[in-house]
Symmetry: C2
Subunit: 386 residues, 2 copies
């Protein structure tokens, strides 16, 4: 086995790395454009492009003519740069996307699970294995090597020095063995959604923000200075464990915020408190929101109460990290009906933070893990692994 490619990887010039990074992150471009953007001279651009073309990291895709002068050739990321596979091992479905490092979608599939999974189970693992196998079978040679496989899981995720047993992050591998020669990247699903909001959603252009997901469970993803914050044990954003109930004379119970703010407890309160004058009670949160949106007074009261409770949680997060912007997501949290109530409570309790609703929907997580896999693939291609 000859290791020319490996040797070559370790000696990419700084300018070539910058050009490649630019093509990955900003999409196809011409030499003059990248040269002026990166502050590189034309000879250097020549050398960088030649170097990357030799590696197959870059390919010409045509010419662009301006109003005057010779037309410039345009380049994009080439096949040898590899591609990534992103999997969202969710509770109701497995979402999978295969794409190039510069985010050209090569393959995608959504598999609905037969029944809701409350945690990562062997059944989820089997479904992931089947979906990944299907994607691998559909792989075409011109996609190049599979560089990174990213998997979003609903557990906290620790690094190689952490206790992976305690976090249960590896349950996804009970019935699934990742392909060889591929880097595997595991990330918490809420963190992934936060990453997606940063790049494609409500937090575009924000360096610092917090993403709060409210659904069956609650969680937070934190981005500070463009960096995803994971915490020492991968437990940053586990706001289900905020002290609650917390008041003079009461004793907080672990995980109680999650129980109290999750949709099941909410619906239980709605049903317990529903007045017959308001008609039949809603069956789930979707109906509750629908009724509130249609002017149902009882529904609106419950939504407003819940918005205030969510606002208190958000205010606590704002008080700790001051993110400036808070994006509300998740099945329940992303409803714009919550926005005024949450916003008011936050403004009343803490320093200002702009509260927004997510609009990425259920694709947020898979888009986020795809993005993280692409970033890892970029580092791998450049030989800049940690």
């Amino acid at each position: 086995m000859w290791t020319e490619a490996v040797a070559a990887r370790l000696s990419i010039t700084g300018s070539a790395k910058a050009v490649f990074r630019s093509l990955v992150l900003d999409g196809p471009s011409t030499r003059p454009n990248m040269g002026s953007a990166l502050g590189l001279s034309r000879p250097t651009m020549s050398a960088a492009i030649a170097e990357l073309e030799n590696l197959g990291y870059v390919e010409m895709i045509g010419a662009v003519r301006g109003p005057l002068g010779r037309s410039a050739s345009q380049y994009r990321v080439g096949p040898q740069a590899g591609h990534v596979m992103a999997v969202d091992a969710g509770s109701t479905s497995i979402r999978l996307r295969v794409s190039t490092l510069d985010r050209r979608l090569l393959y995608s599939h959504v598999h609905r699970l037969p029944m809701r999974q409350f945690e990562v189970s062997a059944e989820v693992s089997r479904a992931v294995a089947a979906e990944v196998a299907a994607a691998l079978a559909a792989t075409l040679p011109e996609w190049g090597p599979l560089s990174t496989l990213g998997i979003a899981v609903p557990t906290r995720v620790v690094g190689p020095d952490g206790d992976a047993e305690a976090s249960r992050q590896n349950v996804v591998f009970t019935a699934f063995t990742p392909p060889q020669q591929t880097t595997v990247l595991l990330e918490n699903n809420v963190n992934c959604a936060a990453v997606a909001e940063m790049h494609y959603g409500a937090a575009q252009g924000e360096e610092t923000f917090s993403y709060v997901q409210i659904g069956l469970k609650i969680g937070m993803g934190l981005v500070l200075g463009g960096q995803l914050i994971r915490g020492r044990y991968g437990a940053a954003g586990e706001i289900g464990h905020l002290a609650f109930p917390f008041a003079p004379g009461t004793e907080p119970r672990p995980g109680e915020v999650e129980h109290y703010l999750g949709t099941e407890a909410l619906m239980a309160r709605v049903h317990a408190d529903w007045s017959p004058d308001d008609g039949a009670p809603p069956l789930d949160t979707t109906e509750l929101l629908l009724m509130a949106g249609n002017g149902g007074v009882g529904a609106q009261r419950h939504v407003a109460k819940h918005a205030a409770d969510i606002g208190a949680i958000v205010a606590s997060c704002v008080s700790v990290v001051d993110p400036g912007v808070v994006v509300l997501g998740g099945g329940f949290g992303s409803s714009p009906l919550l926005l005024p109530g949450v916003s008011d409570t936050v403004r009343r309790l803490s320093y200002s933070a702009e509260v927004r609703s997510s609009d990425l929907g259920s694709d947020a997580t898979v888009l986020g893990i795809e993005r993280l896999a692409m970033e890892r693939g970029l580092l791998l291609a450049l030989g800049e692994t940690i």
Copy 2:
């Protein structure tokens, strides 16, 4: 005016920067030591030292002989690198330190304020002006230029694009004009204490931790990945604004945590609840802690209760950012008597975090702002200003 020095600053080679940084951060050293630590060859070390000596950034301070062979000359930071002044504009005293970039103390003074200041006032500003003037008068030519003046203030601090009126951070300048040609660095006092804990205190060697200060007021300083987290509006760590009281059926009130956990409210509860069997009630928290340490049952009960409350706050912080290590500081918080109670509550409510007591005492803040000023001075000397 000739700008040779400025021009020279802008063209320091990378190796010289690395050598200078090493001398600043790790103290005096020899060429061979730094060369092997930084991975630089002997010719490169020669060039770097020559370059820095020409600028006056470095000076030889003697020779070190090993067991064998020629002795190596030792270098340290030179006068032209400048020095920094650090001021803690505290509530009971103004603490001032002048030191070189490599932390050789040149001058220090503590000025006790005639009466406790609950916020930055004109009186504090006048005292700062007097202390700085005294320090400037004591300045010797061989200290080199005053590069940075750091001031720690008990307000949040926003950057140049923030609303400095709202933060009241500039009140310290009402009666005080900083010297010309000097960079002024303003930082929140709790953040400063956190920085001191990281470098000289209970969080030495930790990349990620949280510092919780409990005294008359409460606050938190957050360090993630070695970086001090300030937040979008400088309000990160304002845990006095955590949602409280927060329980079903109650409505949180802004800033209520601070009122409830601050020492004044604590002592009010102690007095209201004091049993005559336990003798005369304590006059302040120092006495309360003393009585608890001496086995006073009533005092111990109150300390334990307060520790549990602090534990709940800490658990909330841990749930949001998962710092791994929490250092307790401040007049009341740094008492080791609190440690078991806080620790137990945190363990019960959230993912694990190690809780420690600070032992830097009342110097923490001035040591932290000194450190930040030194780091800024280093960047300025290297022409790496943002």
